[in-house]
């Protein structure tokens, strides 16, 4: 198929953004069976997507609202309550 790899790389990316249609899924699968370059590409961007997701969770899981900032917000809430 003409422009296959270009099209398949697009589908590989869209797969991470929206559910692919049945036809799109079949085209992607079939092409990946035959083409190692696209297979690597698909694996890489999926891997990257997952790594970044895990990283997001890990990076911020211990973050707490610092007490000085908490006090400031507290005060502003009091002010608005007085109005």
């Amino acid at each position: 198929m003409k422009h296959a790899c270009e099209e398949i790389s697009r589908l590989a990316s869209e797969k991470l953004e929206r559910p692919l249609s049945f036809v799109e899924r079949v085209r992607l699968r079939l092409h990946l069976l035959m083409c190692s370059a696209c297979r690597h590409y698909d694996a890489h961007i999926t891997k990257l997507h997952r790594i970044l997701k895990t990283r997001q969770k890990n990076t911020w899981s211990d973050v707490r609202l610092p007490s000085d900032k908490r006090e400031k917000i507290k005060a502003s809430l009091n002010d608005s309550g007085d109005e």
Partner: protein, 185 residues
Amino acid sequence: MDPQQWLTEHGDILYRFAMQRAQNEELAADLVQETLLAAWKSKDSFSGNSTIRTWLIGILKHKWIDYLRKEIRQRDHATLAEGDPTAWFDPNNGSWLKKPQQWHDDPASLCQDTQFFQVLQTCVQHLPEKQRLVFDMRELQGLDSDEICKACDVSATNVHVLLHRARLALQQCLEIHWFGGKKPW
């Protein structure tokens, strides 16, 4: 209904959510404050169908998208040039000009590898502005496509195209500067 109690119970969660997106302590704290003030003002709109926490996070999400919209408008980079996607493929037959090679690193160990993330950050910074912005919102801040559409005033298709181009560029960049064993810059 007591905003002080919201702050006590949900302050950390809201701040974490804001930090993940804003990655800046002052800005994140401002967002939490604005969220709680806005929630207090519109407390009558709380339907009770969701938990207070979900309701507050919903408001925070809106605040963040509003902030991004303003930022993006100010920068006005509508005219900035974007990378040409065809540069990755042979214009005659759409096959790869430079075929992706297999990566040998284990994803679990990459997650722990700060050097890998430095290389990735540098690769992201080298993206054309719009691609960088959209990739950052999607993969680093964890927004979904819908939220990005709202923030940037572009269609879902546009967001998908920008993400697609960003991923092409990043995989190439990582292949050269990380997996290819070349020293990062």
